[in-house]
Assembly symmetry: C3
Homo-oligomer: 268 residues x 3
């Protein structure tokens, strides 16, 4: 798996795929800089009058509903359908699904009307999506490792897409393929948007590979490993501010060799 | 006062209050990261279709009108009324009030229809708000220290809320309670959003205390002290860029002991 | 030329011009911080209900269409006309023109209905604008240095404005005045928004000079020189993240002496 990821990284840096984002205004700058750091090209455009055209020359589409509103929801759907029609990967980050009726309804529409290629969320977000299908029993009470895989697998199989749950340990599932990733550090959750940035990295990798299962693992392991290295480089007195700067440094300087040496990826 | 602030900081870190922001797109990322740095949880949501629900499980609401528009003004009012109904603190940052008719009219609506718990602004913003009531004489000509307290006190008493004026010396007033804060450095005004971030910190502290006068002082002293320490840590050649990174480091590493030792807080 | 630029920098720091931006939500924070770093005052406001008033006390207006939408396009036009009426410089950054019909149509409207004082873009954006007039032959096939000057000159003469093309070597043209700038480093293109920030710096300099040709060169040389110095200060292991922080440090610490010593400006 790490060998494949290393190859995709080289491919990414050669092809510099254009990754179209319709995303939130909180972390949009970080997502653009992370996309550039790994070697891809970001474009952020959300007006309904241009998203179809913009998607038409993108290599992948990231839909992040962090600060959704009536105007951008329609743009997400239109852009998503166009991406689907073109067959480019659609990476969906259902930020805060379950928190409000609007978010849950929007996620449902994106799943049903667009059909994402990859869905990345935290455990509570993915549980909500799994529950939407009404087929998961006792979702709210589960918490263990095996349950996490089970939730991801059921959602993946029902929607025929890659499902990634990020957290202390990350899990990526596509049908019967399962991968666990043990990179990352708790400090990542003390910086806003590290989840969004991981989603953007997945968009970058999936922009140059037809195997979005591997592309998703690649994005998550890159973020986690960059987090470990950035934390390791902190000097006395430095904290979340310097860590955040280091994240971009480490992603920009990521190499196949570093990935192969530091990636903690376990396929079942 | 510093003892109380130190206690609230511990409480904040234990409870990790959810602070709902309806804020501007210029400094929203900084506000989210500052909220995380102090130990609280940010959520940014501004669609009228979800703000009431989002407010319903927040510990406090920050309304910042930095880049207000027709759509978000309505969301601010709806969210504010819900927050009022629930009795959670509403922190209002009237960015640029007085600069345009729209800003002045919006601030007036928020004050009248919502009723903020805390208002934080610079001297010229608070003067405008004080003048809206038509009860301050010669507001435009005042400049001295005593006048500043007087302006804050009149506004506080008229609106029955906490009023904070930040600047070279900060003043926080609630009715007859007055507190002056002498932390901070001029360089804070060379980074965009330090006022917005102070407002967010107030939202964090007020999310875990029923005494919003103390919560407001806590937010301001934290920001000022972090500014002093971040400036003190700059190395040769470093300037506003490194200072800004250091601000987040220092807020994340703030402790009750640092606050008690470095806070310059004077109650009248 | 460098002597004039040095003088304008001193003037800028003395007058602290207010630079009104209607810009994108990706890099807006960077533009505000860059405006502060050089010594000017940023204001970001885009609601149609207030942009005319805000423009009325600004020293210059920056229109950046990076994340344009139906609502903000109208605000750009209204603000632009007001700025034109007042005779303050209008700096237009036609981000992504040519990529979508909406962007091309919007740029056309801004050019025809507003009439910018300065247009700054990369080669492909300026070529598109030049082509809109239907007077450039074989635009798509040109690539060389002389062609770049030719494209800029034709556009400048047709629109009677300053035209700047930034890239490996930058070119600024106003009628028959031509200036080439050799500062900058490739790493600038690995950080999002360095083009937007250059446009903001142009807005700052043009806010205190009647010679917008010199003001435009000043903004570009400041950005390029800051990029060189920031790259030169990187330590082992540091990359785009630290570079970005350094950019703000270097602009904030820019002096007439540094500009005169490091600026590589060639007038034809």
């Amino acid at each position: 798996m790490l060998d494949k990821i290393a190859e995709i990284l080289l491919e990414l840096r050669k092809k510099q795929p254009l990754v179209h984002h319709i995303t939130n205004y909180v972390t949009v700058n970080d997502c653009a800089n992370m996309t550039l750091a790994i070697g891809a090209s970001p474009v952020m455009a959300d007006d309904i009058g241009e998203v179809e055209e913009m998607v038409s020359f993108a290599s992948s589409l990231v839909i992040n509903m962090g600060t959704l509103n009536g105007r951008t929801i329609e743009s997400m759907l239109v852009a998503g359908k166009k991406a689907r029609e073109r067959g480019i990967p659609i990476i969906f980050d259902p930020v805060g699904v379950g928190a409000t009726t609007l978010r849950t309804a929007t996620a449902k529409r994106i799943i049903e009307e667009v059909g994402p290629t990859v869905i990345r969320g935290n455990m509570s977000e993915i549980k909500i999506l799994a529950g939407l299908g009404g087929e998961i029993k006792g979702v709210d009470s589960v918490a263990g490792e095996e349950d996490r895989v089970e939730v991801a697998r059921e959602l993946s199989q029902r929607l025929s897409c890659v499902v990634a749950i990020t957290g202390k340990q990350d899990v990526v599932v596509q049908g019967n393929r399962i991968c666990r990733i043990d990179n990352g550090r708790p400090v990542l959750s003390r910086v806003t948007g590290t989840g969004c940035m991981a989603t953007s990295l997945i968009g970058c990798f999936c922009g140059v590979t037809t195997d979005c299962f591997v592309g998703t693992v690649a994005g998550i392991v890159t973020m986690g490993l960059a987090g470990e290295m950035a934390e390791g480089s902190l000097q006395t007195g430095e904290s979340v501010g310097a860590f955040r700067v280091g994240l971009f440094d480490r992603v920009a300087e990521m190499t196949p060799a570093i990935l192969k040496q530091g990636g903690k990826v376990y396929e079942d």
